[in-house]
C-alpha cells in the first residue's frame, strides 16, 4: 500500500528518529509512506476565529500537493494523507473539514492561492494510528512483530489533539482505547493513567516552561503510580514536554523520578526488530537501560568493562 505522507517540521528537525522508526515499521507491514514532494508547515495550531481564513491557507496548500501527486502519477487514485504528528493531523483535518463543508471559504482560499491548482476537497486526512487500526488491523500487526514486548509496561499518553475536538479526534475523547490496543498488538502491557489525556501545557513550553513541568510531573507520576515503565505519545510537542522538561520537573519537584518517553513509532520499531531505526540515543531520558533490563535490547558491553 503506497500512501502519501506529511511529516511535519519537527520530524525533520529535532525528532528525526520518530520518522525513521515509523518508516521502518511501515515497511514491515507493507506500507510505503511517500513524502509529499513539496510541503509547508501546517501551522501546528488551528486558527479558531470565524473570520480568519488566512491561517487555513497553509494546510490547504499541503492538501493540494496530494492532488498533484495523483495528477503526476506518483500515486494511483490515493487521497488518504497519512500524518504521524497529532498536531499536524488535527490542523490539516480541521482545515479540510472547514473547506469541504463551506464552499465559499474553499473558493476564497483557491482564489487567493493563484499560483496553485484549485483544491477540490478530495483528500482524507488520516493519523498513522488510524491506518494501523482500520486498514492494517492490530491483530495483523501482532502476527507480524518479530520481538514481542513481553514484560514491558507501557502507559499510553493520548494528549489533546489526537482526541479533541470530537469531530476531529480518532477515538472516544473520554475513553480512548486505540493506543492501548496498539500497545497490546506489540505484546506489551498497557497501563492506565488518570492523566492520559490531560494537556501537557503544549506551547506554554515557550516562555513558561514551569507550567509544562508541573503537568509533566502529574502525568508521569500518574503513570508511575500505576506501575508503568515507559510512556508513549503520538505528538512531538507532548514528547518534548514530557521528555525534555523532566530536568526542570525534577528541579521543581525533588521527589520526581525520571521516566523514559517514547514516540509510539519507536516502540513499534523495537517490536519489529528495527531498534537501530528507533534512534533511542536521541531521546532526552535514555530508554536503553530500561529496555536492556527488560531484555528487549541486547546489552552492549563496552571494551573497558
Amino acid at each position: 500500500m503506497k500512501l502519501p505522507y506529511f511529516p511535519g517540521c519537527t520530524l525533520k528537525q529535532t525528532a528525526k528518529n520518530f520518522e525513521k522508526s515509523a518508516m521502518a515499521s511501515a515497511r514491515r507491514i507493507g506500507i510505503e509512506l511517500v513524502e509529499l514532494p513539496r510541503w509547508n508547515c501546517c501551522g501546528a495550531v488551528s486558527s479558531l476565529t470565524s473570520d480568519d481564513i488566512m491561517h487555513h491557507v497553509a494546510p490547504i496548500r499541503d492538501l493540494v500537493r496530494v492532488q498533484q501527486m495523483n495528477d503526476d502519477g506518483i500515486l494511483n487514485n490515493e487521497y488518504r494523507l497519512v500524518v504521524l504528528c497529532s498536531m499536524c493531523f488535527n490542523v490539516l483535518k480541521r482545515s479540510n473539514m472547514l473547506v469541504t463543508k463551506d464552499a465559499e471559504t474553499l473558493n476564497k482560499i483557491n482564489e487567493f492561492m493563484d499560483t496553485e491548482p484549485d483544491y477540490e476537497g478530495t483528500v482524507e486526512v488520516k493519523h498513522f494510528l488510524e491506518i494501523l487500526r482500520d486498514e492494517i488491523g492490530f491483530d495483523k500487526i501482532k502476527e507480524k512483530i518479530k520481538k514481542p514486548l513481553h514484560g514491558l509496561k507501557v502507559s499510553p499518553y493520548y494528549g489533546c489533539t489526537l482526541l479533541r475536538p470530537r469531530e476531529i479526534g480518532i477515538d472516544d475523547p473520554e475513553a480512548p482505547t486505540i493506543m492501548d490496543d496498539f500497545i497490546k498488538s506489540l505484546e506489551a502491557t498497557p497501563v492506565d493513567n488518570p492523566y492520559k489525556s490531560l494537556c501537557c501545557g503544549s506551547y506554554h513550553t515557550v516562555g513558561n516552561a514551569e507550567v509544562v513541568a508541573h503537568r509533566t510531573y502529574k502525568i508521569i507520576e500518574g503513570a508511575r503510580r500505576n506501575g508503568a515503565d515507559v510512556i508513549i505519545t503520538s505528538c512531538p510537542l507532548c514528547a518534548f514536554n514530557l521528555d525534555n522538561r523532566q530536568e526542570l520537573t525534577k528541579k521543581l519537584h525533588p521527589d520526581f523520578e525520571y521516566m523514559p518517553i517514547l514516540y509510539f513509532t519507536q516502540l513499534m520499531a523495537l517490536a519489529f526488530g528495527e531498534e537501530k531505526e528507533a534512534g533511542f540515543d536521541e531521546n532526552f531520558v535514555n530508554p536503553v537501560p530500561l529496555l536492556e533490563e527488560k531484555k528487549l535490547l541486547k546489552k552492549v558491553v563496552s571494551r573497558g568493562e
Binding site: A44, R164, C199, S202, V206, L237
Partner: protein, 131 residues
Amino acid sequence: MTEVIHIEKKNVKFLQKVVELSGEEVTMCEQCGICTTSCPMAEEMDVSPAGIMRAVQIGDESVVESKAIWFCASCFTCTVRCPRGIDLAKVTEALRQLTLRKNVDHIDLDEVKKESLPAIALVSALRKFTG
C-alpha cells in the same frame, strides 16, 4: 445578597464582538462550571473558564486584560464536555485576538531566542502569542 448588574450598550457591543469573532453563542452558557473543573490550566488562572464566559455574557471587557485567557492551551477539554455545546476554546481565542490584532505580542521574542526549541513549539506559540 443580590448583585444588580447594569448592562449598557458598550457591554452588549463587546458581547456581540466576541460572539461574532468566536462564532459561539456565549449566552447559551448556564454557568454549570464543568469547563472550570475540566480545565488543566484552571489552577494558573485569575478568572476561571466559567468566569470568562460570565464576563463575556455581561460584556465585562476587563476579561481581555486577564491572565487566564492566555493560559488556555487550546486543549479542547472544555469544548468536548460543555453540556451546552459551546466551543470555549474559540471564545478564549477571540479574546486573545482582540489584543493580538492590535499588533501587540504576548511573548517577547528576545526571551524565546534563549533556548533551542523544536519547530512545533515555536510555530504553535508564535501563532497563539504574536499578533
